[in-house]
């Protein structure tokens, strides 16, 4: 049996020091392959977002962002493109004046004299590493992406703050008090987990119309504030705060709100941090609901703006990818610095 390589052996066997067998190799192939599958599309889009418009659709594409170099040559109004030219086994950089059929007329950019005519087969364009920053600056300045960004930041920040307070208050009531109907209310709140937005989006929109928040950022924020996930997460954490602390505070003449604000809230900080991270991610990434509620451009969030933008400029991939990347950055930063919180938070609550 010892020589037998079981296809599933590698799932259960723990690694033995100093011995690498086929199961280890398969595991590593899977993990490295998976990592590449995650990274390659993202990095490819990132690389592409740095390429100038002319380069981005070149096929086959180059890996790094490059662009043809142009030079200003005395005696010519327009900048000329720079080419490598091989003459008598010596390579020189020359500027192209014009191209006629298979012949190109070239001048020396330093000593512009009479153009020489050469075979186009003997020249190749000079390319330098160039980052097309205009892919990022243009949408921000010209296509109101700065407004989208501002709206997204506003929605994310305000919604997260309200989410924390409103749900912490509810969790406090449900974890530290016994009162008539406490269990029923908890079940009622948790049961709303069963009602995803996709089911109630039509009537929820009607409610937004009714309260006059159509095409208003508050219409995006307010319906998302009360979160059954948030109540559940915070309540579970608050249950671990000893009741004796609350009683000590009550003996210490603290009002109920002061107990919440000065004792329970600071002690719930770790759970609040987890909820805050989730809330930031949810609100930053929200798409369907803002898409329904917001109708005018100046109110779009980044995700809605991005979607609208790709509809309008479907061929302008250099802009689309740049903006995609811009909206990716905050999430990636959150991920890099807080991934431990996020993964333990999910493993602990089983919720996303």
């Amino acid at each position: 049996m010892s020589g037998n390589v079981s296809a599933i052996g590698f799932f259960t066997r723990t690694r033995r020091a100093g011995r690498i067998d086929i199961t280890d190799i398969l595991s590593w192939l899977w993990l490295i392959g998976g990592t590449l599958a995650v990274l390659v599309p993202v990095l490819w889009a990132g690389m592409s977002s740095l390429k100038p418009e002319a380069e981005i659709t070149r096929f086959p594409p180059t890996l790094l962002p490059r662009a043809a170099v142009q030079v200003q040559v005395q005696g010519f109004d327009k900048p000329l493109s720079l080419w490598n030219m091989t003459v008598d086994g010596e390579t020189r950089e020359m500027a192209m004046v014009r191209r006629i059929g298979l012949k190109a007329q070239m001048v020396d950019p330093d000593k512009p004299g009479k153009p020489v005519s050469v075979d186009t087969k003997s020249i190749s364009p000079v390319q330098r590493l160039t980052v097309a920053t205009e892919n990022y600056t243009d949408p921000l300045t010209r296509f109101s992406f700065l407004t989208f960004l501002k709206n997204s930041v506003f929605v994310t920040f305000v919604a997260t703050l309200l989410t924390l307070i409103v749900n912490a208050l509810a969790a406090f009531a449900l974890s530290k008090y016994r009162f008539r109907g406490d269990k029923a209310i908890f079940v009622l709140i948790i049961s709303t987990l069963m009602i995803p937005l996709t089911v109630v989006m039509v009537p929820a929109y009607l409610v937004i119309v009714g309260v006059g928040l159509v095409d208003n950022l508050w219409g995006v924020i307010i319906p998302t504030v009360a979160s059954p996930t948030g109540v559940f997460l915070l309540r579970q954490y608050m249950l671990t705060i000893p009741d004796e602390l609350i009683e000590a505070a009550r003996v210490d003449a603290a009002s109920e709100f002061r107990i919440f604000w000065r004792i329970v809230l600071p002690l719930t900080a770790p759970a609040l941090a987890v909820l805050a991270i989730f809330s930031v991610l949810w609100r930053w990434n929200d798409f369907l609901w803002p898409l329904i509620v917001l109708s005018s451009r100046e109110n779009f969030t980044l995700q809605v703006g991005l979607n609208a933008f790709q509809g309008e400029f479907s061929v302008q991939w250099h802009y689309i990818l740049a903006m995609t990347f811009l909206s990716l950055i905050p999430v990636t930063l959150v991920f890099l610095f807080l991934q431990r919180y996020i993964t333990t938070g999910i493993a602990g609550t089983g919720m996303k």
């Binding site: 599933i8 590698f10 723990t14 899977w30 995803p196 009360a226 369907l288």
Partner: protein, 329 residues
């Protein structure tokens, strides 16, 4: 650190100073015993207005017609919307249905759910089993697979759209292998395939994490006992690991189904709104289009479809809760 907490303290004090007096006045008025109701009020009001009220409205709207928004202006049509949605010569052939787009969307969704659930579950399970081994850099890989979960559906749609573009990286690879380029997203088969691929790519990290937590909850001494009992690796997998992971697998399965039925965002962006044609038009997109896209404003029909989908999700959720309770005990 001390400075940061000092600042936080001061911020807390400030809010305290603003709100304490009125809230304490209420406490004196209603008594300590009723304060939990006050603390619950904001949450319950919001749930009432934005979750429970909409459910009532959805059910109401499902029985009315017309394109008016206000319910008082909408004619009562009884079961007409449901009749329209459910009238078919053959449910297997969407073209034979009165509301053929609805049935196209249902069949698209069913196929998607089937493939997506199977593929995600398999990939997540294999990854979790591998990560559960004593492997180097486990934290790195776990984080790596989890990263896409955090991204926005729009961003994911766009990244993949570019990856699958005529000039995208996938075609570069294919060309290197000598295969002619393909415009994947304009092909019915390929586009459906890649909607599933993107969905697996997007969500598998989440399910891997849940399964991994389940695997790590299996006591180590069981494996030691199995090793002493000379169990082969495959027997250990099928007789110990998978049975003990069973409840977690079931919960993940149902959760995946609930989420898959609601596929919309990333598919909508990736396929330019469900294309080619209606090859990737799913149920949520159908509801969205009936109510909001263009000037259709068929709120009644959309509500009726929502109610039907809600019932399916309700059944799935109840099954999940049932299983979750069983897994706990």
């Amino acid at each position: 650190m001390a400075r940061a907490t000092g600042l936080a303290d001061r911020a807390l004090d400030l809010v305290m100073a603003l709100f304490e007096a009125p809230i304490n006045a209420v406490e004196r008025l209603i008594g300590k015993g009723r304060m939990p109701y006050l603390f619950l009020a904001p949450n319950l009001v919001l749930f009432g207005i934005f979750t429970f009220l909409p459910i009532a409205i959805a059910i109401g709207y499902a029985f009315t017609g017309g394109t008016e928004l206000l319910i008082s202006h909408r004619p009562f049509v009884g079961l007409e919307n449901f009749r329209k949605l459910l009238t078919c010569d053959s449910y297997l052939v969407p073209g034979s249905c009165e509301e053929s787009l609805f049935w196209t969307a249902i069949w698209n969704t069913l196929w998607f759910v089937g493939f997506n659930v199977a593929a995600t579950l398999l990939v997540a399970l294999v990854t979790a089993l591998i990560l559960n081994r004593a492997i180097a850099a486990r934290g790195f890989f776990r984080a790596m697979f989890f990263y896409p979960v955090l991204l926005s559906p729009v961003v994911i749609g766009l990244i993949w759209k570019w990856f699958l573009d005529r000039n995208g990286l996938l075609n570069v690879f294919l060309q290197m292998l000598g295969v002619p380029p393909e415009i994947f997203l304009l092909d019915v088969g390929w586009s459906r395939f890649f909607v599933v691929v993107v969905s697996v790519w997007f969500h598998m990290g989440f399910y891997t994490l849940i399964l991994l937590a389940g695997l790590q909850a299996i006591p180590k001494d069981l494996y030691e006992a199995a090793a002493i009992d000379a169990a082969t690796p495959s027997r250990t997998l099928f007789r110990i690991t998978l049975p003990l992971l069973g409840p977690n697998l079931l919960v993940v399965l149902i959760l995946l189904m609930i989420r898959s039925v609601q596929i919309f965002d990333e598919a909508w962006v990736l396929t330019n709104g469900g294309g080619p044609g209606t090859a990737n038009t799913f149920l949520v997109q159908y509801i969205y289009q009936m109510a909001f896209a263009g000037d259709l404003r068929l709120f009644g029909l959309a509500s009726a479809a929502s109610v039907l989908m809600g019932l399916v999700l309700l059944v799935l959720t109840l099954v999940q809760l049932r299983l979750g309770k069983k897994a706990e005990s």
